[in-house]
């Protein structure tokens, strides 16, 4: 059995759940593929921490798929169990640090959203360099981009940043799913043209 675990973190309203849904739909082409992963939704609240997990499972054969000791998968990723961590907010990358190990790929968005405690002057927002150095202590595979700026520049709106980030994930991590499977899914969905463009922008990063 092979597995590939992706943890996606960020804030409510950033399109994280959509990223997870697109990724999960890419795992339907074979019966020997399985997928699990839950979301943490905070009701209608905005600006709160949100995470979603995508766990790809590839069985070696049918008997493994039917083995009760192998075929039941938790909806969560255990600490250190993510092959990739993608974060749409710099500070939240550090809240997602628990999921990564020395081989994990980390991709994070550079645009900060300031929490209320920082607004009120009670705490300070960490410097990007601090975030980098903390991540470096764990893994060397770190990539950061300003997905907000790329989205605004290309689409005059923030709404595509999640799909751009998804492209970046496929460019940097060795995900055992073909890129064209994702492209086909985006083609069939809403806003196909922008999504395809956004995904390809991400792929080229």
């Amino acid at each position: 059995m092979k597995k590939f675990n992706t943890a996606i973190v960020g804030l409510g309203g950033q399109g994280i759940i959509t990223m997870g849904t697109v990724m999960k739909n890419a795992a339907l082409s074979s019966d020997l593929q399985d997928v699990s992963g839950s979301e943490r939704r905070g009701g209608a609240q905005r600006e709160g921490y949100v995470e979603t997990f995508v766990k790809y499972i590839f069985y070696e054969n049918e008997s493994e798929m039917k083995d009760p000791r192998k075929s039941m998968h938790s909806p969560m990723i255990e600490s250190g169990g993510a092959d990739a961590l993608i974060s749409l907010e710099p500070l939240e990358t550090l809240r997602g640090v628990r999921y990564i190990n020395k081989n994990s790929i980390v991709i994070f968005n550079e645009t900060p959203y300031i929490p209320i405690t920082v607004r009120m002057g009670q705490t300070a927002y960490p410097e990007i360099s601090f975030i980098f150095s903390e991540l470096k202590k764990i893994t060397n595979n770190i990539f950061s981009y300003d997905f907000d700026a790329i989205s605004v520049e290309n689409f005059s709106s923030l709404t595509q940043k999640n799909i751009i980030a998804l492209g970046a994930l496929f460019a940097k991590a060795d995900i055992p799913i073909d890129v064209f499977v994702i492209e086909n899914l985006l083609k069939e969905g809403k806003g196909a043209e922008n999504n395809l463009k956004a995904f390809n922008l991400g792929l080229k990063l």
């Binding site: 804030l11 409510g12 309203g13 999960k24 739909n25 795992a27 339907l28 593929q33 399985d34 997928v35 699990s36 992963g37 839950s38 979301e39 939704r41 905070g42 009701g43 209608a44 609240q45 905005r46 600006e47 709160g48 921490y49 009760p68 000791r69 039941m72 998968h73 938790s74 909806p75 969560m76 990723i77 255990e78 600490s79 250190g80 169990g81 500070l91 939240e92 550090l94 809240r95 640090v97 628990r98 990564i100 190990n101 959203y113 300031i114 929490p115 209320i116 405690t117 607004r119 009120m120 009670q122 705490t123 960490p126 903390e134 202590k137 764990i138 605004v152 923030l158 069939e188 969905g189």
Partner: protein, 664 residues
């Protein structure tokens, strides 16, 4: 869900990525339900929402967002007695409200199958407690099913209807938020022909009448039915024993925690112990447990919360004379969500097997780092009228973060989006428990502590849920309290279900039965009642001040629609009329030269669209309105004491229209 709407059309052989809640709804559909209802509540809301959304294309399906859980479960019982398979869903605390119908359901039994799907919320990410509703079954006797993954969520729900009819119990289907909001692969089954779904209520006094000896007789009958169910469960497909090799250790688990357990054992590379997977966790069969205990001298129960299984299993072990050791809650915590990390650590301690290095070092690193990170909590959406309401209340009672002023006035909280007002920077609640506790507790405080002014808050949906008798009680018993009803016309927190206040649907259609809330409040005997727009914060604050000076029960209705719905409707309608979505005709900006960073907009109002920026040349910080997220509610414009916020108007709509004309 997928493109061609497999939810309503999918048949055997189809496969899709489905949310846990949708899988439950699909299972009910495959079982041929004709009735589905709920009072909305996270994490369960999508169970009925997905059926409601699709009902136009599903023959003979009735859906209802009931006013509360008590009504909702009674509705399901009425449908069942009319021969209609019925699904009722609610969140964990909903069963407190519906406990009365649940208590009687075993006495009367069902006619057509009835399933009660409960979304529990361990860790309380969207609830005000983390109660484990399984304990209710010790007295309601409702059998409990606990699916472990998406496929079981669908399959168990479908099977639950047959079980319900066979043993005449309403069946509880327990789904924690981790399952409700898990999305994974689902293999569909076939749908039943729906043309024959038709109600026919047949009188059944033997079962439906409960009084004196009739009630005692029905009590006896359901205890007998429960014994029959236990016999059935010895060999049922829901409970499975996975045999080990020569190990004398056994694991017992259920639901999502079972999935955590199986993955934990796989991570630890342990495959030789005996495992009992319980799909049905109430009632438990002594005979089944007897079979499982054979050859074991150490058993551990892996479950969430206080140990519902452990409680039952230790009793059964005593009855069976099992001499081995039974462990459980001493390895797995009772509070908070039991995560895969907790299960992995607990199993490793129980088996005295070291944790993998990658896991250990990740846990250590995380612990070391988390204290250094600023906490982040959710807040109101940009443009949310509740933000204006809280700002107005805090101004009226003299609270200020910036000036370090506390408030004397007691504020009673309640359940809804506005609950977020208890978080910083507002800190505008002094107690919060269940729905309508705000006025209920607040009115009594007003009677016993005459020195304090009290404001109780409630949302429209919560008020209609069970607040009307509380308000009437306050009036009848001479309470002295200001009751603010935050009427945003929707049950917004759970995905915008309609309330009796909903005047206009999302497509712009007027509602034929919208209620006049002000008239309703008046009719309850409240003479001081005013309805205002909370976004006019100055007027609203001064109104709160005057109301607080009056004796008796005063009601202010903060009436403004949820901004998300308003924006969505505008998008839909504008698209329909012009084919355009960009209709912004004004924007707000902070003039750097006039802004003295007094923090009235940035900290007191705390709208997330107002952000901190650094001047590229001078490096100085300044406040800025982010126009890609601002929804132009204009509240910041009103709160600015220095007229530093400016409204810029232009007619972009007209310009765009001209452009499209030219293109055509």
């Amino acid at each position: 869900m997928g493109k061609s709407n497999l939810f309503i059309n999918g048949t055997k052989g189809d496969k899709a990525i489905v949310l846990g809640n949708e899988a439950i709804a699909r299972g009910a559909l495959e079982a041929g339900i004709g009735y589905a209802s709920m009072y909305p509540g996270t994490p369960a809301s999508e169970i009925i929402a997905v059926l409601d959304k699709n009902k136009k294309n599903i023959e003979n399906l009735y859906t209802e967002f009931s006013l509360n859980e008590h009504i909702s479960l009674h509705g399901a019982i009425g449908a069942s007695w009319s021969g209609i398979r019925s699904l009722c869903a609610m969140k964990n605390v909903g069963l407190n409200v519906a406990s009365e119908p649940a208590q009687f359901l075993s006495y009367t039994g069902v006619k057509a199958g009835l399933v009660l799907a409960i979304g529990s919320d361990p860790g309380a990410p969207s609830s005000s407690n983390e109660q484990d509703d399984r304990w209710y079954s010790l007295h309601t006797y409702m059998p409990i099913m606990e699916p472990s993954n998406i496929q079981e969520a669908k399959d168990f729900t479908k099977d639950a209807f047959d079980l319900s009819e066979e043993f005449s119990f309403g069946i509880v289907l327990m789904a924690p938020s981790r399952l409700c909001h898990n999305a994974g692969a689902l293999y569909f089954g076939d749908l039943k022909n729906r043309s024959g779904i038709k109600g026919d209520f047949k009188k059944d006094p033997e079962n439906y009448l409960n009084l004196f000896n009739m009630a005692v007789r029905n009590h006896t009958k359901y205890l007998e039915r429960s014994e029959l169910l236990k016999k059935y469960l010895v060999e049922s497909k829901f409970n499975k024993i996975i045999n080990g090799s020569s190990s004398k250790i056994g694991f017992i688990s259920s639901g999502v925690i079972y999935a955590h357990l199986m993955e934990s054992l796989d991570i630890l590379g342990v495959y030789d112990h005996k495992i009992l997977k319980l799909g049905l966790t109430f009632p438990l069969s002594n005979e089944l447990l007897g079979r499982f205990f054979e050859g074991l001298d150490k058993v551990v129960i892996v479950e969430e919360a206080e140990g519902f299984l452990e409680f039952q299993i230790k009793k059964i072990a005593y009855e069976l004379g099992f001499k081995g050791e039974i462990q459980g809650k001493n390895f797995f915590k009772q509070t908070g969500e039991l995560t895969i990390d907790d299960v992995l650590s607990g199993v490793s301690r129980f088996l005295e097997k070291p944790l993998p290095v990658f896991f250990d070092s990740a846990v250590k690193k995380d612990k070391e780092l988390q204290d250094k990170l600023p906490q982040r909590s959710g807040t109101f959406c940009i443009g949310c009228p509740h933000r204006a309401t809280f700002y107005s209340i805090l101004k009226a009672v003299g609270f200020s973060n910036t000036e370090g002023k506390e408030r004397e006035v007691v504020i009673a909280g309640d359940i809804g989006c506005y609950t977020l007002g208890l978080l910083p920077p507002y800190n505008a609640m002094d107690f919060l428990t269940c729905m309508n506790a705000g006025l209920g507790i607040g009115q009594a405080i007003s009677i016993f502590d005459k020195n304090k002014k009290i404001i109780a808050l409630v949302g429209d949906s919560t008020f209609y849920h069970s607040g009307i008798p509380v308000l009437l009680n306050a009036v009848q018993n001479g309470a002295d309290i200001l009751y603010i009803i935050l009427d945003n016309s929707w049950t917004a927190m759970t995905g915008h279900q309609r309330t009796p206040s909903t005047q206009k649907d999302i497509d712009g259609k007027s509602s034929s039965n919208a209620l006049n809330l002000k008239d309703l409040v008046k009719s309850l005997g409240v003479s001081y009642v005013k309805s205002l727009d909370p976004n006019s914060v100055k007027r609203f604050a001064s109104q709160i001040k005057s109301a607080l000076k009056e004796p008796g029960v005063k009601v202010l209705i903060a009436k403004r629609e949820c901004i998300l719905q308003e924006v969505r409707r505008n998008k839909i309608l504008n698209k329909n009329i012009t084919g355009l979505t960009e209709t912004s005709e004004s924007l707000y900006e902070i003039q750097k030269s006039r802004c003295v960073k007094c923090n009235e907009c940035f900290v007191e109002l705390a709208c997330p669209a107002i952000i901190l920026k650094k001047d590229a040349e001078t490096g100085a910080d300044y406040y800025h309105i982010d126009n890609s997220s601002c929804v132009k509610c204009g509240v910041c414009y009103e709160v600015c004491p220095n007229s530093a916020i400016r409204k810029v108007e232009f007619n972009i709509k007209k310009e765009l229209k001209l452009e499209t004309k030219n293109l055509n």
